[in-house]
Symmetry: C2
Subunit: 408 residues, 2 copies
């Protein structure tokens, strides 16, 4: 694969139109959209209008005039299209952590008297932490098992199983249809975390039988740093769904100021307090980068990008102790490549200094995300070239690449 070959693939890319929607800094190959999605070109102006006009000039009137009050539902519909969810089953609210709590708590309650929450021990930490907190609060038992022990652990004791669809470190995909069916077969409910899936894969929540789901707005959905998260409640559970964080935005008539909580119909009862409107508006612009994007095409492109990166990296850099830490089959892997190297941390820092932004996940994983809307084939070829240079020149030995910052 020469740079010319890559340029031809980029020219023929059916998603090339989407790349024009982003402003990326010159010289940077951004392979960290799985941690923080890139800025849409349309976002700065939209944010300026929200701040100066909607807030500054129209003030409180903008709750109605500018449609602030409907943002959770409006954004939910946009996300619903990306994750295979019917209308009314997705809303944007709070953070992924808080939404995991809401859904797992409701699933526990709906599945009384069962008291076991099942989760993957090596799942993204905040999901596990939140389930530990829910266990402490309610007396439910949290069972953490290894990835290959999930299926055997799905017994008739389990009230709810919480799984991340695409693993944050390895990129390995769980088979949502099979595991949801397996959970259903023992009477357990499933909660899927789509943080590394939404916007990168073809997710089919309704078709695959998921019961509940959450996901992140600031990764592939390009919603901006700490963008609000989303939650999904399958239509069949919406009337039984009880949000324990029963704030006024999930009330049937929030502005009637009634004394008793009465939940609105649909997944919107998953809302709690007043949403952070400026962050919601940035997320709306991030979601607009998916306008006209066919998620089957996005998934196909992400598979080709990751395969090309993995093949080139192992071919050119395999001699430098670099190994794959992700599935080799593109169908089993999200839009990311994970490599393993004992000097992984310093290599990632040296790469960032050379304009290839990935990230490091302990103990030894170099993680690269390939957001199909703005990463191209030429980026992949160039990124591997720079990785090769970091390794051959041993740039990672520079002491400044060993300094750990607060956020890694």
């Amino acid at each position: 694969m020469t740079p010319a070959d890559a340029a031809r693939l980029d020219a023929a890319d059916p998603l090339a139109f989407a790349r024009e929607r982003f402003d990326l800094p010159d010289g940077v190959i951004y392979l960290d959209g799985n941690s923080l999605g890139a800025l849409s070109r349309a976002t700065p102006e939209r944010m300026a209008r929200a701040v100066r006009n909607e807030w500054g000039e129209r003030l409180i009137a903008s709750w109605n005039e500018a449609g602030w009050v409907d943002l959770p539902q409006r954004l939910g519909e946009r996300i619903g299209r990306l994750v295979g969810a019917e209308r009314g089953s997705v809303v944007v609210a709070d953070s992924t952590s808080v939404n995991v709590f809401k859904l797992a708590a409701s699933a526990l309650r709906q599945n009384t008297p069962r008291r076991v929450i099942l989760a993957e021990a090596d799942d993204f930490p905040t999901d596990v932490y939140v389930l530990q907190g829910l266990g402490r609060l309610t007396g439910a038992e949290l069972r953490l098992v290894a990835r290959d022990a999930i299926e055997p652990a799905l017994t008739e004791e389990v009230a709810v199983v919480v799984l991340t669809h695409v693993h944050f470190r390895t990129g390995a995909i769980h088979d949502m249809a099979r595991l949801s069916a397996r959970a259903a077969s023992v009477g357990a409910l499933s909660v899927w975390d789509l943080s590394h899936s939404a916007g990168a894969l073809q997710v089919r929540l309704d078709a695959d039988g998921a019961d509940f789901a959450v996901g992140c707005g600031y990764k592939y959905l390009n919603g901006g740093p700490g963008a609000p998260a989303f939650l999904y409640v399958a239509a069949r559970h919406q009337s039984a769904f009880q949000n324990p964080l029963s704030g006024w935005f999930g009330h049937a008539e929030p502005f009637a100021f009634a004394q008793d909580y009465a939940p609105v119909a649909g997944a919107a009862r998953g809302l709690a307090g007043t949403p952070p409107i400026l962050s919601m508006i940035a997320l709306e612009q991030g979601l607009a980068t998916f306008d006209g994007v066919d998620m089957a095409a996005a998934r196909a492109k992400a598979m080709r990008l990751t395969q090309l990166f993995l093949d080139l990296a192992l071919d050119r850099c395999g001699g430098f102790d670099l190994q794959a830490a992700c599935p080799l089959d593109p169908a089993a892997r999200g839009a990311q490549v994970s490599l393993r190297h004992p000097r992984g941390f310093a290599i990632v820092q040296a790469l960032i200094a050379d304009g290839v932004v990935g990230d490091f996940r302990g103990p030894d994983v170099l993680r690269f995300g390939f957001a199909p809307l703005y990463v191209g084939y030429a980026d992949v070829v160039e990124a591997v070239g720079r990785l090769h240079r970091v390794l051959t020149e041993e740039r990672w030995r520079d002491p400044r690449f060993s300094i750990r910052a607060a956020v890694t």
Copy 2:
């Protein structure tokens, strides 16, 4: 009080410097800062920089470089000064509703085996709704009592009492020191909602013996629509405080990706998931409008503004069925005046059309907030003049003023 008298008071106002920090639309007298605070002049440029430079150009690096990761604590310290809380006892996180849940849940647990949550029946609905949800989840009993029954209801059965310091509809202030002491005397813990206090009153959480508190970022703190909220944990409770929403941002080492939750020291363990950074940055600018503002002076000014409005309104408009719905003693009232009129809804709409923005709270309350940083004495005189005109000319009879929008 003539317009010239009012202009003299404004000229002598020791907080006149703060008014220059705001951009209010021409011709508008904004008396709804208790619902959505006004835009600081510094905010648009700061937001543009956050979006274009920090997010767009520096991307993921801004978590460290731009100090995004410390925003919850940094903003907490700024708020701590305004509410009389020592360092490390306030952080910014989530919404008021979600924070009420966290604190009441922890207080319940700290006060085991007591199972009673006491609250005011007529409190702001979302606080009550959230406590109802907590009761359903944990089996705790929620006792809702009338305002004058709170003290007698504080018995040794009560685990936690949740009270809003300044009532959203009437502006009546609870005596925080007396009620906190009364709670302590029966072994109950107190949670104070400062949504209508922070930035408008001299709050003394530490000195008044509050155990926990929450509050809103988007009212007097000028943080923007739906700005994140804050929470306070008194120093003596910080080691026992257990956040049930135990997400990774409250972990002692969030980026170590350890499997088990281990809370960080201080109120920061009240953090849950990743915070909405753009909304946090807007809140930081809102808090900067308090730089150099002495809260004793702000409180004194708010008392004078509300008294002037109330005196003028009752004097000039009392013949039009208008009555006070707030305490007559300024020391017993927050920075708001509430009036009662059977046509309250339409009168508020007619006033808004005439450039005086207040709001309506059912069944019959006209509510006016007097943010001491940007409302002046001339505004008060002019606002009462327009209220008088709406009443004398019966402008509220215009049918368009009876149309209710989604948000009132």
